[in-house]
C-alpha cells in the first residue's frame, strides 16, 4: 500500500509529489504568520519577542518560494537533497529562538532577585519605622567618610 493510495481522497488535491514539501512549508508559514499576527494583535505576544519568529517564518517562506536559492544553499552546505536544507534552516532558527528564551529567563531571574531583595529590605525598614515612629534602626552611613579607627 503506497502512501499515495493511503491518502486516498486527499491526494487528488495535493500538488505534484516533487513540490509537496514546498506546499506544506508554504502552508506552515502562512499558519505561523497568521498566528503571530493574531497573538500580537491581542497583546498576547510582545513585538520584541516576535521578531525572531517572523524572521523564521520569513526565511522559510523565502527559501520555499525560491527553489533556486534553496538549491544554492544546499550546495553550499553540502546537502544532496535540497528540501533537507529547509529543515536545517528551521533547526537553526529554532536554536536561535531557544537561546533567546534562555537569555530572557536568566535576565528575568536576575531582575526578580533584585526586586525581591529590595522589597525585603524596604519592608524591614517600613516595619522599623512603624515600630519606632521616627528613625529606622539601621542608620544611614554618613557620606563624608567613616571614622575608620575602631577599638578592638
Amino acid at each position: 500500500m503506497s502512501p499515495d493510495s493511503m491518502l486516498g481522497i486527499l491526494s487528488w488535491k495535493l500538488p505534484d509529489y516533487r513540490f509537496r514539501i514546498e506546499f506544506w512549508a508554504v502552508l506552515g508559514c502562512i499558519v505561523l504568520f497568521t498566528a503571530l499576527m493574531e497573538l500580537i494583535r491581542r497583546g498576547r505576544l510582545k513585538e520584541r519577542y516576535s521578531l525572531l519568529w517572523f524572521l523564521t517564518a520569513g526565511a522559510l517562506l523565502l527559501f520555499t518560494a525560491r527553489r533556486d536559492w534553496l538549491e544554492n544553499l544546499a550546495q553550499l552546505v553540502g546537502v544532496y537533497y535540497p528540501p533537507t536544507a529547509l529543515f536545517l534552516l528551521l533547526v537553526f532558527f529554532m536554536l536561535l529562538i531557544l537561546m533567546h528564551f534562555s537569555m530572557e529567563i536568566s535576565r528575568l531571574l536576575a531582575d526578580k532577585h533584585t526586586l525581591v531583595q529590595n522589597l525585603g529590605i524596604l519592608e524591614a525598614r517600613v516595619r522599623a519605622l512603624e515600630r519606632t515612629g521616627s528613625s529606622p534602626d539601621l542608620e544611614v552611613k554618613n557620606e563624608s567618610g567613616r571614622d575608620n579607627s575602631v577599638d578592638t
Partner: protein, 302 residues
C-alpha cells in the same frame, strides 16, 4: 588564566600577604601590637554585622540568636547586629522573628520568595553596608557554626590584616565535625582549582563561615554569585586583590534536618561549580570601592 594583578590596597598598614593564622590567642595579641597609630585616634566601638541566611530554620534560629547574646556578653565593646534574612521560609520563621527578633536586637528581613543562599546573603550584605558595618560575618542559620568562634574571624579584619577570613575545618587546630570524605575530596578539588585559576590558598573552600571587611562587604553587596556562592565568591574577591586568610574553627553537626548531598549529586555539583568558577575568571565585575569611595579616586590620591 591567572588574573592576579599587582595589589592596589591603599589602606593597609602592614604588607598584606596570604596568611594562615595558626593560633587565635596570638592573633588577638598581635591585633593590639599592630594598631599603635590607630590608638591615638578616638576609638569607637566596632560594628559587627552578622548575616544569618535562614530557610526553614525556625527550630535553630533562637539557639543561634542565644549564642550571639553570649558573644555580646563576652565582647561588650562590640556593637553586634544580627541580620537575619528569612529567605521565603514556609515554616513559622517569620512569626518567630517578629516575636523574638526585637528581644535579641536582631534585624530581620523577610524575602517574599525563596531566592537561594547567594541572594539571601547578598541582601544581608546590603543591609550591613547601609548600617556601616566594619566587619560583616556570614553565619549559617542551622547552628553548625559556633558563635563563640566569631572573634577569631573578626579580629584579623579589625586589625586590618585581612579582608576575608574563612573559618576552616581543615587547617591545623580545627576539629569537631569532620565532614564526609566525599565532601572533603570536593573541597580539596575546589581548593586546587582556585589556586590554579586565581592563585589563592584556601583550604576549606565550601565553608560558609566567613567574615568580610567593610570594603569586601561593599563589593559583595553589589556583586555576589547566586548559584554556588561559597566557592565562586573567591574568584571576584581575588581578582580585586582582597586579602584572604583562614583560621581554624570547630564546627558542629547539624542539630536538625539533613544535608541533601548524595554521591551522584555531589559529582554533578562539582562539575557545575567548576564550570561556574572558571566563567567567573573572565566575567566583567564591578569595581572595588574603598570605604564608599570609587577605587579611581583612591588611586588618584598622592
Amino acid at each position: 588564566m591567572a588574573l592576579k594583578k599587582q595589589p592596589v590596597i591603599a589602606r593597609q598598614t602592614t604588607p598584606l600577604r596570604l596568611i594562615s593564622i595558626k593560633n587565635p590567642r596570638q592573633d588577638s595579641a598581635a591585633t593590639q601590637q599592630n594598631t599603635p597609630s590607630i590608638a591615638k585616634l578616638p576609638a569607637r566601638a566596632p560594628k559587627i554585622a552578622i548575616v544569618i541566611p535562614a530557610y526553614n530554620e525556625a527550630k535553630n534560629l533562637e539557639k543561634v540568636l542565644d549564642e550571639l547574646q553570649k558573644l555580646r556578653k563576652a565582647r561588650p565593646r562590640w556593637r553586634i547586629l544580627p541580620i537575619i534574612i528569612n529567605d521565603g521560609s514556609t515554616d513559622h520563621s517569620k512569626e518567630l522573628l517578629e516575636r523574638v527578633g526585637p528581644l535579641y536586637e536582631a534585624y530581620s528581613v523577610h524575602l517574599p520568595l525563596n531566592l537561594g543562599i547567594g541572594s539571601a546573603v547578598q541582601t544581608g550584605f546590603q543591609c550591613a553596608v547601609r548600617w556601616g558595618a566594619d566587619v560583616t560575618l556570614q553565619l549559617d542559620g542551622d547552628g553548625q557554626h559556633p558563635a563563640l568562634e566569631i572573634p577569631n574571624l573578626v579580629c584579623p579584619i579589625l586589625a586590618k590584616r585581612a579582608d576575608v577570613v574563612v573559618g576552616s575545618r581543615y587547617i591545623k587546630g580545627a576539629g569537631g565535625n569532620v565532614s564526609s570524605s566525599m565532601r572533603q575530596w570536593g573541597t580539596y578539588f575546589f581548593s586546587r582549582l582556585l589556586k590554579v585559576l586565581v592563585g589563592i590558598n584556601v583550604r576549606d573552600t565550601t565553608s560558609g563561615f566567613r567574615a568580610f571587611s567593610a570594603d569586601a562587604t561593599d563589593f559583595l553587596a553589589r556583586y555576589y554569585p547566586d548559584d554556588y556562592p561559597e566557592v565562586e565568591a573567591y574568584v571576584p574577591l581575588a581578582r580585586h586583590d582582597f586579602t584572604i586568610s583562614e583560621v581554624p574553627v570547630k564546627m558542629r553537626p547539624r542539630s536538625h534536618g539533613a544535608s541533601s548531598i548524595t554521591p551522584i549529586r555531589s559529582l554533578y555539583y562539582m562539575i557545575k561549580v567548576a564550570i561556574a568558577t572558571m566563567m567567573d575568571t573572565i566575567r566583567p565585575i564591578p569595581i572595588r570601592r574603598h570605604s564608599g569611595r570609587l577605587q579611581e579616586e583612591v588611586d588618584r590620591e598622592p
